[in-house]
Symmetry: C4
Amino acid sequence: VDRNRLEGFSDGVIAVAITLLALNLIVPGPGHGPLLSQLADRWPSFVAYLLSFFTIGIIWVNHHALMKTIVAVTRTLLFLNLVLLLFVVLIPFATAVMAEYMGTSGNDAHISMALYAAVLLGMGLAFGALFELALRRGRGRIGSPAQLRRARYQFLVGSVAYAIAFIIAFISPPASLAILGAVAVYYIFERTAALGESTAEGADQ
Amino acid sequence: VDRNRLEGFSDGVIAVAITLLALNLIVPGPGHGPLLSQLADRWPSFVAYLLSFFTIGIIWVNHHALMKTIVAVTRTLLFLNLVLLLFVVLIPFATAVMAEYMGTSGNDAHISMALYAAVLLGMGLAFGALFELALRRGRGRIGSPAQLRRARYQFLVGSVAYAIAFIIAFISPPASLAILGAVAVYYIFERTAALGESTAEGADQ
Amino acid sequence: VDRNRLEGFSDGVIAVAITLLALNLIVPGPGHGPLLSQLADRWPSFVAYLLSFFTIGIIWVNHHALMKTIVAVTRTLLFLNLVLLLFVVLIPFATAVMAEYMGTSGNDAHISMALYAAVLLGMGLAFGALFELALRRGRGRIGSPAQLRRARYQFLVGSVAYAIAFIIAFISPPASLAILGAVAVYYIFERTAALGESTAEGADQ
Amino acid sequence: VDRNRLEGFSDGVIAVAITLLALNLIVPGPGHGPLLSQLADRWPSFVAYLLSFFTIGIIWVNHHALMKTIVAVTRTLLFLNLVLLLFVVLIPFATAVMAEYMGTSGNDAHISMALYAAVLLGMGLAFGALFELALRRGRGRIGSPAQLRRARYQFLVGSVAYAIAFIIAFISPPASLAILGAVAVYYIFERTAALGESTAEGADQ
């Protein structure tokens, strides 16, 4: 019951955050040139929308997998989950800033991409902490030591990649963006083995 | 349990998206002429609101029918569902653009209507893919071959009509709008036979 | 199960709509005079927020009572429920318009109040239709003929009062507002007898 | 079942309100100086976001603990819960006003902080009333008299601190802010003993 309400609240916040991403999509409207070029000028918004939509979508999928391993909803868990949601809710803001400066040159393009990567890194670290907390109690639900290693590895990959993207942002924003896109693609195709294999994942094979 | 959380998340996103439609309804306010003419000038917003509200409402009803046939929540299903939601979340944006250019003449009226139809087409195709995926596993839940044919036909009708509306948009935006309205009316009155007959639908007869 | 998802979706839409009401609360900010007088100037927004918040809150409570009498989720029910939600989602818009023109004089004050009452009337009529639909099947769950009469009477009261408020709006907006406020107070204190008595209500006595 | 829907609706409103906090985070965008100084200039928005995010998060945690003690969902409970949500929904607005005036000097800094504290005080009082209502019926679920005293004490602490912060706001806004921050930290670390001990809390020890 407790876990259900935690999932319900988290799902609510994630659902609102993913939908608010679309508020960043605006065109100036009639009297500001041909619509097609207005849309074309806003291409960074659409790229950023795509990336953030799938990133938040993956957060939801992984959150869903992680929650299945939770045995007891402790206050520490609730608090760490709030920290995770704090970063999720920042994603639409960071997406908007990043989209506005993407395609510009100069220092601000670096800063905006670093801000975006930093928000994702904060999210990834909160996720990792939640995972470790779940491990302390729910080890039995996660599976063999090999599966556990693989699951931890997969959580780590994200945070390490976000950290690298943060640093690369100061050198080349497009390269940073490419890394963040690659993480999204990685999580979509790679299965979070130990967590999902015995349940949802197995059904695909 | 898994299916419940998938439904809950999808319902959350759809509920937020359908409510955000109303953010497109604004009047300039005092000092911009009589309120009645401000409202009258914004008639395209109200028409677009009506159409998109029922379109998203129907998506919810059909999603709800489709989910009942799902046997196992696989990662492919989660991903296809995200793609569906990606297009649902774009509907308020596409509605706003379409409303702004509806009633104008020239190329932008065509483009804006085509954009709207394209978003609905993307949504329809994602829905079709989800349906086919559900079929691969949940065939038993859907019913006789005749019911299956009818259900597939009904899903196809939407996508084909959206594709036609997309093309017609470049010739006549009002005709395109009429097609999209007809699809909404079709889905409201026609029952998605094979999916619903044995459950919700039966109760009406 | 079906009813649960219908309730979940409706709750989601109502929850988003009630929260979006607060987006109408804005002050111009630093450089636009003392904050206290900015807040005081916006008093209609706060009055309108209060009224609409409790109105939507009551819709939720009554929706919740009505759903308990539903035996089968039919397509007609889903459609009528969508119509109800269509009007609920319009409430933040109508509230914003009404608040902007409240306190002004002239024709637009009448129009804006009439618009607000019209949206509530539409909502009340959709509610009445849902109630009658529930009756056709769920009569057994509602109780004795006397309770039924009382429940129908209480649903009618709202719609009739909204219709009167709509007409009065063209004569005196403040009187119209007072009627709408009285309806909210009525529903808060009066119990929707037949629907609630045997369940939640009984527990208060 | 009733309690579930009450929780679901409350969670929905709280989830939307906590996510809307992020709408207050905006930077002016390209052409308004270096991005880093735009972000630095908006530091009050980020501080206010952090404080309000955890405050709403704690409201959710405590609401969740309180609901577990509810035996019967009465109309009085529904109404008090609406009053609580009314204040929760005002938090994003009060946060925005407070952030805009934080860091300014003069009377408006006092007023905006007092407004923020007043909204939290209203929320705290509604919470206290809900708690006392739950006590009248659910005493058995709450535990020993000592636990009950402790739970009541912990609910009171919040409201008293909010009242003090409201008064202090007229003397020193930063001191008021510090008190509000301390309340958030207190609730995060202190466990709401009587309510949670036997369930979620126990698992941490």
